[in-house]
């Protein structure tokens, strides 16, 4: 029984995200590799980057991008290399090309629209306020006196 459980444990054991044997000796290069791998999506997982994924293909990609870095590629060249093979699906931060510009402009655009509408509302309310007399009318003053006396 123990042996069976041991076998089970070994078969199903997870391949752990970044493995010690993948880590590059040069810390600066390794830091770049980590930064790149955080921005690339594991092609077979549910919304995980290759940096955190346990899938074998992610390991292959991590090793591949480190090889490119060691060869002297720049960060963009490495990313382009992988996108050319796996498609833009692997980019966790989509580029702003084509219709993606809508995605990138959505935040500032919507903010401007909202600020415009909000400003309009505030102005309208403020104007309505300006039309309202600040001081009390004579009738109101008289009524106030009555209330205070009673």
């Amino acid at each position: 029984m123990r042996a069976l459980l041991l076998i089970l444990a070994l078969i199903a054991s997870p391949v752990f995200a970044v493995q010690p044997d993948e880590v590059l000796d040069d810390p600066a290069l390794e830091a770049r590799a980590r930064e790149i791998s955080k921005g690339l999506r594991c092609p077979v997982c549910q919304n995980e980057s290759i940096d955190e994924s346990n899938a074998p293909i992610s390991r292959d990609l991590r090793i591949l991008l480190r090889e490119r870095l060691v060869e002297g590629d720049s960060d963009e060249e490495v990313v382009d290399f992988i996108v050319a093979r796996y498609g833009e699906f692997v980019l966790l931060k989509p580029d702003a090309g084509g219709a993606n510009i809508i995605l990138w402009l959505a935040a500032p655009g919507m903010l401007l629209i909202a600020l415009g509408v909000g400003w309009g509302t505030i102005r309208r309310r403020a104007q309505a306020r300006a039309e309202e007399p600040d001081s009390l009318s004579d009738a109101e003053k008289k009524r106030l006196q009555e209330i205070l006396r009673s």
């Binding site: 044997d21 959505a106 505030i122």
Partner: protein, 657 residues
């Protein structure tokens, strides 16, 4: 037998909900009191029947009745009792039943505590609430019935997903549902108000506690989920911008906006139609979240019911309710006349800005979440939108919110003086800048994230504290302290919740900026150094759990030659589900967590080991707890419990003009 009773009660609840949907609405239209009163009885009856149904399902899980298909697929006889019970909602059908039960609970609460509401409004609210119930009960009964039997009961079950066998995740769904579904009350009130064509301070006073309750439960639910991800997934991430996380985050943002704008409606009778729109959208996003989780249109680590047929059904519910409410809104919103006026610089304007930032940030999350779907359907581009996008597009909104919060919260209603608010806050501002500068000087050659986080955290927390203090009037410190203690609970709630936001902002920035990671192969008996901490891998052994096998490492943490703690990270395999999980071992601390993970044995001997030093990690959830606590404190304020529309009690601490 008990199962059949549960099934029967569910069908009966469906019928009751149909009655509750139709009769009170007609009664309210025609002014027939007896018809309106049906709503109260039906709401309570519906809740009772659903409780029976839920209890029956729970019973089947507790006794491991594998003749029920659902129990067979999601339970196992050797599972600990806690997870047998929580397994009831660890699956699509059972969680949907819990969702509906929560919905009925809110409906029944409106009947129980709504005695001081106008009859007509209450009848309409209950009717709209029942309409939502009817839609989801139909969904449950016709597409995902939890009470289906198996002709030949198997000997044992297939076990619950091991990731869900965890205390953090066990209670994550109930809190989330209390939040999601709690927003249905705001929705029902909004639709009822549109039908009546009238929104006033009393309405807002009714909507606000429900929204606040929903928001604080959502806060707890999201925090539990994030905490779970932190310790369970094995690398200490706490937020992934996953579609399902976003699905819970969007209603949270809109609920936060709604509870602020409802204050404006209550106190100043303005921003009415915007508040109604927010109430509709907040629940609309809850429904959207339900759709995202249960249809599987967006790939996600959470998706647990990828069934197109169910997806289409929920999409129809979403279209009918959100579309219907928005059509009603476009017809009736014009009738919501605003009364209160305010000048450009005022608390009202500050809250408008708060609402703009929260609503647009929710929109950003929304567009990022659905963009892959849009791109694929309209342009045939298969792409991903992940954390780097959200970090870049979303963060500025919360920085903005944190910056405007302290002065905005101190502005007077109607007509404020920004210069005075800022000059009152000058010491807080100086302290925040000094703390930021000090942090900048102390950290070596890193990003601006840490110092900015410290600055914003100090600014928001001290700003909130100063706001509370400034309400104590003038005089001796002792007198002021006494008066601060006697301030209304709503003021204390505001302080606690705002301070919580500051704490969370600081925690996220600090953890992201200063985390240290170490990945290496360690042999048994070997010691290594990580950021001033020495870690020793003492040994690794196999341990047999109740329904899993574990590889457990014993690791000792040293600091300056002194033993700090012994940690036992594990790697578990659940044989029945055939799934491995990592169980990180964490030494929780006020200033930092030490987070250890054990990996695979290496061919050359030794084990893969990951060590993280995570500074201020617990502040993230501590802040969330504070936010929820602030909500509770505010809810307990007398003002929210007194009859709606009753005169305000004297000494109400609204700052004078």
């Amino acid at each position: 037998m008990i199962t059949e009773l549960g099934h029967f009660a569910l069908i009966l609840a469906f019928v009751v909900a149909i009655v509750q949907m139709i009769i009170p609405m007609i009664g309210a239209q025609k002014g027939w009191r007896s018809w309106m009163a049906v709503g109260d009885t039906a709401a309570v009856a519906q809740f009772g029947l659903l409780s029976v149904s839920f209890a029956a399902l729970t019973y089947a899980f507790v006794v491991s009745d594998f003749s029920l298909n659902l129990v067979f697929q999601n339970s196992h006889s050797s599972k600990p009792m806690l997870y047998k019970v929580t397994g009831v909602w660890g699956n699509h059908e059972g969680s949907m039943l819990l969702w509906i039960l929560t919905l009925a609970l809110f409906g029944a609460s409106a009947a129980w505590f709504g005695g001081n509401l106008p009859d007509r409004l209450r009848a309409r609210v209950l009717s709209v609430q029942a309409a939502i119930g009817v839609a989801f009960l139909a969904f449950l009964l016709f597409t995902s019935n939890p009470f289906l039997r198996l002709a030949v009961p198997p000997l044992d079950g297939q076990d619950l997903n091991p990731l869900l066998q965890d205390p953090g995740l066990a209670f994550h769904p109930p809190f989330l549902y209390l939040g999601y579904v709690g927003l249905s009350m705001a929705f029902s009130f909004a639709v009822a108000a549109l039908i009546e064509g009238r929104v006033d301070a009393a309405w807002a006073r009714w909507v606000r506690p429900w929204t606040l309750a929903a928001w604080l439960f959502l806060t707890i639910g999201i925090a539990l989920g994030s905490w779970w991800a932190y310790y369970e997934l094995g690398w200490g991430g706490f937020w992934f911008w996953d579609p399902v996380e976003n699905a819970s985050f969007m209603p949270w943002l809109l609920a936060a906006a709604l509870l602020h704008s409802a204050i404006v409606v209550e106190k100043r009778e303005t921003l009415k139609s915007w508040t109604i729109l927010l109430a509709i959208l907040a629940f609309g996003f809850s429904l959207l979240g339900t759709f995202i989780v249960r249809s599987g249109v967006l790939t996600s680590v959470h998706a647990f019911a990828n069934d197109p047929e169910r997806g289409v059904f929920i999409l129809m519910i979403l279209v009918v309710f959100l579309g219907g409410a928005l059509v009603l809104y476009s017809l009736r919103a014009g009738a919501m006349e605003s009364k209160g006026v305010f000048s450009t610089v005022s608390r009202e304007s500050a809250l408008v800005l708060n609402n703009i930032l929260l609503a647009v940030s929710a929109f950003v999350v929304f567009i990022g979440t659905i963009w892959p779907l849009v791109a694929e359907m309209l342009m045939g581009r298969v792409l991903s939108v992940g954390p780097p996008f959200f970090d870049a597009a979303f963060t500025p909104f919360f920085v903005g919110l944190a910056v405007i919060l302290p002065p905005g919260a101190m502005l007077a209603w109607k007509r404020g003086n920004l210069g005075r608010a800022v000059s009152q806050l000058r010491y807080v501002l100086l302290l925040a800048l000094a703390a930021g500068a000090l942090t900048w000087a102390m950290q070596t050659g890193k990003s601006a994230l840490g110092p900015v986080g410290v600055m914003l955290g100090v600014w928001v927390v001290l700003g909130a504290a100063f706001d509370l203090w400034s309400r104590s009037g003038r005089g001796m410190v002792a007198d002021r302290l006494r008066r601060v203690a006697r301030l209304p609970r709503a003021d204390w709630g505001k302080f606690i919740a705002h301070a919580g936001l500051g704490v969370t902002i600081f925690g996220i920035a600090a953890l992201t900026a200063w985390q240290v990671e170490d990945i290496r192969v360690a042999k048994e008996g070997e010691r290594f150094d990580v950021a001033g901490w020495e870690i020793e891998l003492r040994g690794v052994e196999r341990v047999q759990g109740p329904n899993y096998v574990s590889t457990q490492a014993e690791m000792v943490v040293w600091r300056g030659g002194r033993e700090v703690t012994v940690l036992r990270p594990e790697k578990r395999v659940y044989p029945v589900a055939g799934m491995p999980t990592t169980e990180a071992a964490i030494r929780n601390g006020f200033l930092r967590d030490i987070y250890l993970v054990i990996g695979d044995p290496q061919t050359g001997g030794g084990w893969a080991v990951r060590t993280y030093i995570k500074p201020f990690a617990n502040w993230i959830w501590g802040g969330a707890i504070l936010m929820a606590l602030g909500g509770f404190v505010s809810l307990s304020d007398r003002r929210l419990r007194v009859a709606a529309g009753a005169p305000k009690r004297p000494g109400n601490a609204v700052p004078a003009e």
